[in-house]
């Protein structure tokens, strides 16, 4: 059901915001942070999907979009993401893939193939 996918997306985003907020409270009390900037090749095809995806990344505390490189002939759209609590490239990319998968399933109403 389409409505359930959208509701599940809203629930997932709220849970991510709460988890990230507690990490920022941890930063305020202990002062511990591990920063990194990674490039993420996104699967979002239209402008609407890309806008919602970058907004969702930024609204989650701990990840922030610093720039979007438009698609060229050789490679697709690339999103540059600043991460505050994680400097391991593979785990950041895994988190972004999961977020993007939930969003695209809610928007397209069909399973998203892995790339």
């Amino acid at each position: 059901m389409h409505v359930f996918r959208i509701l599940y997306w809203l629930w997932y985003l709220t849970a991510q915001i709460v988890i990230g907020s507690f990490k920022v409270v941890g930063l305020a009390t202990t002062g511990r942070s591990r920063t990194a900037i990674v490039a993420y090749p996104t699967r979002a095809a239209t402008d609407l999907e890309l806008t919602l995806f970058t907004s969702a990344i930024t609204i989650t505390p701990g990840t922030l979009v610093v720039g979007v490189a438009a698609a060229t002939e050789s490679e697709g759209t690339v999103v540059f993401v600043h991460s505050l609590f994680d400097n391991d490239r593979s785990s950041i990319l895994a988190g972004l893939t999961e977020l993007e998968g939930h969003l695209l399933r809610a928007l397209r109403n069909q399973p998203v193939e892995a790339t």
Binding site: T35, A36, I37, A56, L84
Partner: protein
Amino acid sequence: MIVLEFLAGTLAIVGALLFLSVAIAQFRARDALSRINALGPATALGAPMLVLAVAIGRSLEQGLDWMLWIKTAITIVALVVVSSVASNVLARATCRSDAAVDEATHPNDLRSSQ
């Protein structure tokens, strides 16, 4: 009723504590990008909690008003969407200006691409 009063008070105090911890985190973060990143809890979670607490408190005192709840819903959605877009714009401006990125930022894909 007493449950709703307790809920409104708890929401207000937790939201205010989120604002305070974000203010302290602005001292702990090491560069401007980390500070923009650490602003998230205040605008995405703290402010909606406070607005919701105010709406519950007013409904308890003056009865249910649909216009108040519509306005509250618009406020919460606008806070989440608008603060996200504002953070994006500010982060992009920070990258394009000469603000220093912390040396401990690793991996840094922006540095290798320029």
